[in-house]
């Protein structure tokens, strides 16, 4: 989504606001720029940065949420990712893990591959999630609403989806400078 279309907030700005509210919760971050931006904004051992397996972030998080029912699990996802693994919205909705917060940064493009349009401009993903059985869903655009709703979701039983409309601006970020097997080991130790 282009800034002139009304979304002043970039994904990195939105992500930074959410990371300020998180401490030691496991966060599964989808492949592409989202993982690289999260790594740059605040690298934590509780972050699982994905580099491949597009569409699978909420499924990985679901595995963690089921196995660790006392930990609140957060997913940082994108619109292209959710569209690719849309079946997982149904799995989450049916299973109803209370400890599951799904954040979707919706910029309406495949940003990592050159801003080709997705179809999330006409498919409201939070409504799909609601229909699939998510308990709380919100769509936000402004930073104050984002912070308010995320704080609220941290207090509520899920599963919850927070869809945040962001523009297609991307931070100047490099790749995640950790070897994937080390990401696994570090994450496992951090959420033990």
């Amino acid at each position: 989504m282009r800034p002139e279309e009304g979304t002043m907030q970039s994904r990195a700005m939105a992500m930074a606001a959410l990371l300020e509210l998180l401490t030691d919760q496991p966060v599964i971050i989808c492949n592409g720029f989202p993982s690289r931006e999260a790594y740059k904004i605040a690298d934590r051992p509780t972050h699982f940065y994905m580099i491949g397996s597009m569409g699978n972030a909420p499924a990985i998080a679901l595995g963690v949420a089921v196995a660790k029912p006392n930990k609140q699990v957060v997913v940082f996802d994108g619109d292209g990712n959710v569209l690719m693994g849309m079946g997982t919205l149904a799995t989450v909705g049916a299973l109803k893990p209370k400890n599951f917060i799904h954040v979707v940064f919706d910029n309406e493009v495949y940003g990592t591959t050159g801003n080709q349009p997705t179809i999330s401009n006409v498919v409201p993903l939070e409504k799909v999630a609601k229909a699939a059985g998510y308990v709380n869903v919100e769509r936000v655009r402004e930073r104050e609403d984002l912070v308010y709703e995320f704080k609220d979701m941290l207090k509520k039983d899920g599963p919850s989806m927070l869809l945040v409309k962001v523009n297609e601006m991307v931070e100047d970020v490099g790749r995640v400078m950790l070897d994937p097997p080390d990401i696994t080991k570090r994450f496992m130790k951090a959420i033990e």
């Binding site: 599964i28 699982f48 994905m50 580099i51 491949g52 397996s53 597009m54 569409g55 699978n56 499924a59 990985i60 998080a61 679901l62 595995g63 963690v64 949420a65 089921v66 196995a67 660790k68 693994g85 079946g87 997982t88 149904a90 799995t91 299973l95 994937p180 097997p181 990401i183 696994t184 994450f187 496992m188 959420i191 033990e192």
Partner: protein, 180 residues
């Protein structure tokens, strides 16, 4: 509950393996998270897992593999049940999640199209599956009534040692299904 050696005694005679014995054997080797997508050959096993409230159903095999990865990172020993067509569906996840991140997973795969005897949609995958798994560097072994105890030991050992997905293939009639 029958233990590991109880299972051994029962399996020694080469008759069809009961689903509850098979599930118990998986539990005995430490598997404690089960997900997947059904197949008729796996029907009895999944029914038994549901009976024991151990099964978290998935809607696609790649999703099941990813859930298993999350469970593994949370300290579980995960197994994913699927028809071999699901290997095609989950290929990218097995490679760009499990292989790249060193995340092991036990795959219980029904071998549809085995020896060319099945519906047309199963014949190509049924024929190429062993080479397909070899190409993906996924260790695999086919369960038989006579070698079941070694098969499961191999499964547990390979899982622990290699830290990648490992597949146990099941042909029709080896483990009792829902409709024998």
């Amino acid at each position: 509950m029958r233990g590991f050696f109880g299972v051994y005694l029962e399996w020694g005679n080469g008759t069809m393996i009961e689903s509850d014995v098979f599930v118990q054997a998986l539990q005995d080797i430490g598997v404690d998270f089960y997900t997947g997508v059904p197949d008729s050959i796996l029907g009895g096993i999944i029914a038994e897992l549901m009976e024991r409230r151990l099964y978290t159903p998935a809607v696609r095999e790649d999703e099941a593999v990813a859930m298993a990865a999350g469970a593994y990172m949370s300290g579980k020993v995960p197994a994913v049940l699927m028809q071999n067509s699901g290997l095609g569906t989950s290929l990218n996840t097995l490679i760009s999640l499990n292989m790249i991140y060193c995340q092991p997973c036990i795959l219980i795969v029904s071998w549809r199209g085995y020896q060319g005897k099945d519906a047309p949609e199963h014949l190509v995958m049924g024929e190429v599956m062993p080479q397909f798994l070899d190409t993906m560097k996924i260790p695999h072994r086919t369960l038989s009534e006579k070698t079941a105890i070694e098969d499961l030991k191999w499964l547990a050992e390979t899982f622990m040692k290699q830290r990648i997905p490992v597949a146990l293939l099941i042909t029709k009639g080896v483990v009792k299904g829902l409709h024998p």
